[in-house]
């Protein structure tokens, strides 16, 4: 620490060069922050709230529905606390571009998904309104919906019994997702399965459900219960596949394409370039300062402390640029998310990203400092002062 001012002075010996390098590093870590947010947006994992939930879907296809009669048998499986169900509605609002993540859900759905926090009085109104719907905070903001609004949603799949594809809904509640809820929870639209069944032109929706949600009595039962539920329908024409909600979400995200792989490939290219660039700057800086380093050694600095000083210089450079870059990403990410109009749900830069970022800064800093530092350590005072 007592050498900090020395390292600092060395770093800003040539202001322009350090400044340029800092901007390159800043750009790299800005990109790192934004891409990591994108990756996080597509991997809904990490949410601890849903660990005690299972999703039961058709084994053969996501579009096949399951018999409603299965619910009572699933309920009887030991370890199952409650069984809810939901159906995909495929709603759009006014324009096909305004896609709404809308679901017809069973009455106990809100008890199973406790991260959907609805004020008790709104919950009451919702329960007593046949065409009532509750919407996430962000979704309501996106379309300017308020409690009490009548909202028509068009289903891309289900017409009403009178042939009309537009379903009227009453917004009776606006919920906020609890802390730790999966990313995008505040973008959803829920309404009564009962309304969906009664008004639907497709008669069979009354006897089928899209998928089941199972709340477990304890999360460590997941495997056993999943197997038991799948055994209920084994060898029937509606075999099921039950998995934890996290596994279900992960497999869905994977289908969009390997976002993680693309992000890592880009980051690989960026950091490789960064190492080369900063390494070159460091090498230049040390070469220029050969004389000064020799003087330092002459007046008694050990080879070891010279090594440490040059290493620290690299690390300091990276940390300065990196922290600025990540901070800038922290500012920009919410703006980008807002600008995309709800299309891209970028979570804010989290602790995990910061930790990973700082580890990268330290590692790259040490890496780029290493060669020049070793060179500085091995410096022969006589040769260096003589300019050989």
């Amino acid at each position: 620490m007592k050498y900090l001012h020395l390292i600092w002075a060395a770093l800003f010996r040539r202001k322009a060069r350090t400044f340029f390098t800092l901007i390159s590093i800043l750009a790299a870590f800005l990109l790192f922050g934004m891409l990591d947010a994108t990756r996080a947006a597509f991997s809904s994992g990490g949410s601890v709230i849903g660990v005690d939930r299972l999703i039961t879907t058709s084994r053969y296809s996501i579009i096949q529905s399951l018999p409603a009669s299965l619910a009572t048998r699933m309920q009887a499986v030991p370890g199952v606390k409650s069984v809810g169900h939901a159906n995909w509605f495929g709603g759009i609002y006014q324009d096909p571009k305004n896609f709404v993540l809308s679901f017809a859900v069973s009455d106990n759905y809100l008890d199973i998904y406790q991260e959907i926090v609805l004020p008790p009085e709104q919950r009451k109104v919702y329960e007593s309104t046949r065409t009532g719907a509750i919407v996430g905070e962000a979704l309501a903001k996106r379309f300017g919906w308020k409690v009490g609004d009548k909202v028509p949603l068009q289903s891309t799949i289900f017409p009403q019994r009178n042939g009309d594809k537009t379903w009227p809904f009453d917004i009776v509640g606006i919920y906020t997702p609890a802390k730790g809820a999966a990313n995008g929870t505040d973008q959803q639209f829920f309404f009564h399965h009962k309304y969906f069944e009664d008004a639907n032109a497709f008669q069979n929706v009354g006897t089928t459900v899209g998928w089941y949600v199972v709340k477990l009595t304890s999360a460590d039962q997941a495997d056993r219960v999943a197997k038991a539920i799948d055994a209920l329908s084994a060898n029937s024409d509606h075999e099921t596949k039950t998995q934890t909600e996290q596994a279900f979400n992960a497999s869905f995200a994977k289908q969009l394409g390997d976002i993680g792989l693309i992000v890592s490939a880009i980051m690989g290219a960026v950091f490789f370039t960064l190492i080369l660039l900063t390494g070159n700057t460091m090498a230049q800086a040390v070469r220029e300062r050969t004389n000064e380093l020799a003087v330092l050694k002459t007046i008694g600095f050990s080879s070891r402390s010279v090594l440490c000083m040059v290493l620290a210089e690299g690390v300091l450079l990276l940390v300065l640029g990196g922290v600025l870059g990540l901070a800038l990403a922290g500012v920009l990410v919410p703006i980008v998310a807002k600008g995309s109009g709800g299309m891209l749900n970028l979570p804010p830069i989290g602790t995990q990203t910061w930790v990973l970022g700082i580890v990268l800064m330290l590692a790259i800093g040490a890496l780029v400092g290493l060669l020049p530092a070793i060179r500085a350590m091995r410096l022969n005072i006589v040769d260096a002062l003589a300019g050989r």
Partner: protein, 440 residues
């Protein structure tokens, strides 16, 4: 006074850069070639130009002595160009796959407001009305050429990951499909037989998903189906598995309804009449579009997102690369400060010095651009990937690194080189000769 002048030149330089970028983005390749020719002629024919060439030669000759720092420019720019071209190639490949799936002489009819086949349903009567509509081409026997189709989605594991689930589209097609979609060629095995539980698989699907080799059996809707052939169509259909409409309908209990009807039109001009007659028909509530329009629309959203991401990432990386290049070139002119000062002392003017430094940077940038674009071309051209498409199922597509994209990459590289070279070049020309000679 002095600082005001300095500020003025700074603003001027920024304006030059802005103007250059604006012109550069709009410039087509003949313009760039013309620019290069003009530059070459200037260097060959005028005195100033020849001086420039001499100075540049010295600069280039010393590049080998500065290999480390010069390679920073090359690699930095190669990185920018590589990432940019790869992202654009992905977006382009996806758009192209879907675009080429459709054409102007076939039309697709869906239930009104459905947007994708998966959501649509047409009962047998409606489907028949569509098939009999005017403008549909008739075969030799006078029967209209049309295919009533079903699209269902099956869960199949991705290759190399047996526990994963991917939504794979299965299309039930009628016999007319072979004349309707003449781009489809059987490349292995044979066609499926109507009435049997037989499937043919697209080449893309076969490559991406497990267990789709000819002769193998898969379980669909609780029944066993046999893969009897593989087909190639070089478009989005290759992501699909095809069977007979009736067999698929009975397996998935769809009765006699279909999800879409695709018809062959007499000619692209017949589309308007065909559409008008269906829209006017009180028995129907349908959406009619040419297949080109239908499939083209499906790629719009994702293509836009990929382009936006590619360009944003490209710009941020380019900023990093510009500053890398600045560092390198400032160091380069500093190393040559005495030499440049000497040149100016013996009568070389500013222009040759400026142009030679810029030329050197831009040559390095060009090399970087070629390396970056080349690597992406070698690795990614034709690379197969898949994502979720409009039918809630996987669309297999190939990255397409087109000549145009390579050109875009090289243009970016040169623009980065221009900006990265301009400031050091101006500095080199402006440092007072006496100061530079005294330095070191």
């Amino acid at each position: 006074m002095k600082s005001a002048k300095k500020f003025g030149t700074g603003v001027l330089t920024l304006l030059v850069i802005a103007a250059f970028l604006a012109v550069w983005i709009a410039l087509p390749w003949p313009g760039v070639v013309a620019l290069a020719v003009v530059l070459a002629l200037w260097m060959a024919l005028t005195r100033r130009g020849r001086q420039t060439w001499e100075v540049t030669k010295v600069g280039l000759a010393t590049v080998t002595q500065r290999l480390g720092s010069s390679s920073v420019v090359v690699v930095g720019i190669a990185g920018v160009v590589g990432v940019l071209v790869a992202m654009l190639a992905m977006s382009e490949g996806f758009a192209e796959t879907l675009r080429s799936t459709g054409n102007e002489h076939t039309a697709i009819v869906l239930r009104g407001g459905s947007q994708a086949e998966l959501n649509s349903i047409l009962d047998r009567d409606s489907a028949n009305v569509v098939i009999q509509a005017p403008g549909v081409k008739k075969d030799a026997k006078g029967r209209p050429i049309a295919s009533g189709e079903l699209v269902v989605v099956a869960n199949l594991p991705r290759k190399g990951d047996p526990t994963s689930d991917s939504n794979v589209p299965i299309r039930g097609v009628s016999e007319d499909v072979w004349s309707l979609r003449d781009q489809v060629k059987i490349v292995e095995g044979r066609k499926f037989q109507p009435g049997l539980r037989e499937l043919i698989v697209g080449k893309g699907a076969k490559a991406q998903f497990e267990g789709l080799d000819v002769g193998k059996s898969i379980r669909l809707a609780g029944q066993t189906w046999t893969v009897v052939g593989a087909f190639e169509s070089k478009d989005a259909l290759e992501s699909e598995l095809w069977g007979d409409t009736q067999s698929v309908a009975s397996a998935y209990r769809r009765g006699s309804s279909v999800q879409s009807v695709t018809v062959l039109l007499d000619s692209p001009k017949a589309f308007d009449a065909f559409k008008a007659s269906l829209v006017a028909d009180p028995r129907l509530k349908v959406d009619v579009s040419t297949t080109r329009e239908y499939f083209g629309k499906q790629s719009e959203g994702l293509t836009k997102v990929l382009r936006a991401v590619g360009i944003t990432v490209g710009i941020i990386m380019a900023i990093g690369a510009v500053f890398g290049a600045l560092n390198t070139m400032f160091a380069a002119i500093q190393a040559r400060a005495r030499e440049i000062a000497t040149l100016r002392a013996i009568g070389f003017r500013g222009v040759p010095v400026v142009v030679s430094v810029m030329l050197e940077t831009m040559l390095l940038a060009l090399l970087g651009g070629i390396v970056g674009a080349g690597i992406v071309w070698i690795i990614f051209n034709g690379y197969t990937a898949s994502t979720l498409g409009a039918n809630f199922s996987q669309v297999v597509f190939r990255f397409h690194v087109s000549g145009e994209l390579l050109w875009t990459g090289i243009k970016w590289a040169l623009a980065i080189g221009f900006i990265g070279g301009l400031f050091p070049a101006l500095r080199a020309a402006r440092v007072p000769v006496t100061t530079a000679l005294r330095e070191l």
